[in-house]
Amino acid sequence: MLRYAVKRMLGALPTLFLIITIAFFMMRLAPGGPFDKERNLPAQVEANLNKAYHLDEPLPQQYLRYVGNILQGDFGPSFQYKDFSVTELIWGGFPVSLRLGGLAILFAFGIGVALGTVAALNQNSLTDYLVMGTAMTGITIPNFVMAPLLTLVFGLYLSWLPVGGWGGGGIAHSVLPIVALCLPQVAAIARLTRGSMIEVLRSNFMRTARAKGLPERVTILRHGLKAAMLPVVSYLGPAVASIITGSVIIEQIFGIPGIGRYFVQAALNRDYTLVMGVTIFYGVLIILFNLLVDLLYGLLDPKVRYD
């Protein structure tokens, strides 16, 4: 296991290098640049700006310069937010996204697994349909509808919670965003849990366990859930990486200073350094969480071996 993990860590480096290289050239091939605006800059000013940001150099040279800089830990200044460096923007926003996303995924995991198990135990009954129907609202109502609906009802009409803003990160400001982030995940996790729980319940080893006379509840929890978690865990790897890096829709609607918006805004603004910054950051998380998932497979199913 340890050897496998170390091997995978080393394997991450070429993966990351590939991500950086492809992303860099994809980004630079796209039309438009960071300084294109509704009002065109006079040619001389644009030339000065390009010079200041080294955009006047040939592309391969810019690429080498960029890679050289990040090897020294310098991700450069943001093109869009000129007073901040990419590192500052990411480290400033990530704790916010991590907190909201982390809590959302924790709640979603608890609620989703519970709902999925209940539904599986009552397969095709009214309970099943009710529970799954409720859970499904999270994916049938898109979050750009759900989030404004929440602020309208709980913020404006009922005045229970603030409509928007971050207010330094108070609990009151976090409730609605967490709910909005949580709901689609509840739906996904509940669906996956229910599906694999049904299979596990029918499998031989569950029949054996029941035959041994173990009480139903203990059987399910001890044996069933563990075996049923496999697809949920597969799903959670990339899902966690994506949720803890924030959501542009949720952040814009609630006015939250996370990093989710940068994934979209930086690209639309052609904020080259910020695009690369968040891409690398996300790439590292994806690699990390997928590694964790593979290690978890071994814990959930002792038969799983890597060779």
């Binding site: 509704e38 200044p77 603030p162 609990i171």
Partner: protein
């Protein structure tokens, strides 16, 4: 986190308490405002920078107008009034401006603000290393153009500190609109020691030293910028607000909700879908004012068939029912546009296209006639592509206009929306046939609009317009001997321009804000600039 939450609650409670007790206090000591006045202002997007020389957008300008003050500043009504300069003399030929700075002018750290600071700041603004977007509006200053182009050292700029309180600026020629330029953020002074010490980070709270009515205390990117009253400001005694908090409000529908919930005093904008609703349901808080800008469809004259057919361009311009468009589609009280330069320039007679006075029925009839004369008809319909960047308003307008062209002329339109930067590149490279575009003036002068279409304006001239007569008239207007006739010549230039129809004006902008009844001192002005030093909060 706990702590932050507790503090927030305390502030809210204190505010509530103070608000509740205000009437009593004012009875006890009339005229003395005891409550801390905190203005919460929705501000669109996250500021790109708060370095006044590098910033370009409205969002940044709003905050910078509170943090800095130029030689000349704007009154609540948007008029140019003395700022750091108490007064100024203009030489007889109109080329040398001598500014007399206030003796008590100070930076927010208490340092004296002197003429040397302005020399440094103007040089920095035109320095190619600063690469300021707006540097070109300083080109009227002697040698600025060559310095921006990197052909001359910055110390050759026509600015000079005669003594610590006298600043002299030499221009290339008489420039009547120069005071407008001097109140723009490109002309704001920056604190040399701070800029040199902190580099890109000099605008951060803790580092920043500014000279406006307010100074920065807090900046959380994507969350808020907080400024407090600057005790060293020369007019501090008349500044009522103690604190302003600006919030980026990218989602305008949410901004409106926050306003309705009492979380904001002023909104940056109103979502177009809700303008009518706001007008009907919150009439006393809905503010809609003309803005110095024009929304238009630009024709690419380098492409056929529109390029060589004035009749066709005119037919298209005629067939748009601008009244219906502004009334039913945009719904923001926009002014139907029949000119390029928006109304509101003092001394300038508004020019109009020749059909401005016709009824829409007459226009449609003429449009059909011109369309047929250009060789098009039901069997041979005009096929055009209309390019716009993805945006709810642009989409709605494009659908409506395409439908009008189809109904009146039978023209077949393809609507193409593109992502913002792709759209810009298409327009710059003149790949479009027709494209939506807009221009908002930086200062109130017709030249700010007209000069875009000089034949040598490069990418800025997105019509590819090239009329020697128009170029000649603009050159004429810039001559020192014509300074008195300048507006007349510019009027002639616009008349020539409109007759050629390189663009189809659609409407002149308006701006909308929701403003709480508690906000006082918010005066209408065409630049829509409302510095916090004039605003106060009525305790309700």
């Amino acid at each position: 986190m706990r702590k932050a939450f507790a503090r927030l609650r305390t502030t809210a409670l204190t505010t509530a308490f103070v608000l509740a007790t205000i009437p009593m206090i004012s009875i006890a000591a009339p005229g003395i405002a005891m409550a801390e006045q905190v203005l919460h202002r929705g501000n669109g997007t996250e500021p790109e920078t708060l370095d006044p020389h590098k910033s370009t957008g409205v969002t940044e300008n709003v905050i910078e107008n509170d943090l800095y003050e130029g030689l000349v500043t704007l009154s609540a009504e948007g008029k140019q009034v003395p700022g750091v300069a108490e007064s100024w003399d203009i030489s007889d030929d109109g080329t040398v401006y001598t500014f007399h700075l206030r003796q008590d002018a100070k930076w927010s750290n208490g340092d004296p603000l002197t003429a040397e600071d302005f020399v440094y700041s103007f040089r920095r603004a035109v320095d190619p290393d600063t690469a300021a977007d707006y540097a070109p509006i300083l080109i009227p200053i002697r040698n600025a153009e060559a310095i921006i182009a990197g052909e001359m050292p910055v110390d050759q700029l026509g600015v000079k500190a005669v003594d610590p309180h006298t600043f002299r600026m030499t221009l290339n020629g008489p420039t009547p609109f120069i005071l407008g330029v001097l109140s723009h953020n490109i002309s704001f002074p920056v604190h040399r020691a701070t800029v040199e010490k902190f580099g890109n980070e000099w605008t951060r709270p803790g580092n920043a030293v500014t000279n406006g009515a307010f100074m920065m205390t807090d900046w959380v990117p994507q969350s808020q910028v907080t400024v407090v009253k600057n005790p060293h400001f020369h007019d501090a005694e008349n500044v009522k607000l103690d604190k302003i908090v600006y919030y980026p409000t990218e989602d305008l529908a949410e901004e409106l909700k926050r306003f309705r919930a009492g979380e904001l005093h002023i909104t940056y904008d109103i979502p177009s879908e809700q303008i009518k609703w706001a007008e009907e349901n919150m009439a006393d808080q809905f503010h809609n004012t003309p803005y110095f800008g024009t929304y238009y469809y630009v024709v690419n004259l380098t492409r056929e068939p529109l390029g060589s057919s004035l009749k066709l361009r005119k037919a298209l311009a005629l067939a748009i029912d601008r009244e219906i468009l502004t009334d039913k589609v945009t719904q923001g009280g926009e002014l139907p546009a029949y000119s390029w330069v928006p109304p509101g320039v003092e001394g300038y007679d508004q020019q109009e296209v020749d059909f401005a006075k016709m009824s829409q029925a007459e226009r449609n009839a003429l449009a059909k006639k011109l369309y047929a004369e250009a060789g098009y008809g039901p069997d041979n319909p005009l096929e055009l592509e209309l390019l716009y960047n993805t945006n709810e308003n642009h989409r709605k307008i494009a659908i409506a206009v395409a439908s009008m062209w189809k109904q009146t002329l039978g023209a077949q339109m393809t609507l193409t929306n593109k992502e913002w930067k792709v759209y810009l590149e298409d327009r710059d490279l003149k790949k479009h046939e027709l494209a939506r575009a807009a221009w908002i003036g930086d200062y109130v002068d017709p030249l700010n609009f007209l000069e875009l279409f000089l034949s040598n304006a490069g990418e800025r001239n997105d019509a590819g317009y090239n009329n020697p007569e128009f170029d000649r008239l603009l050159a004429e207007a810039a001559k020192p001997e014509n300074v008195d006739k300048r507006m007349d010549i510019l009027e002639q230039a616009e008349a020539v321009f409109l007759a050629d129809m390189p663009l189809i004006p659609i409407y002149h902008y308006t701006t909308q804000h929701m403003i709480s009844p508690d906000v006082q001192g918010w005066e209408f002005n065409v630049l829509d600039i409302h510095p916090g030093r004039y605003i106060s909060l009525k305790s309700s």
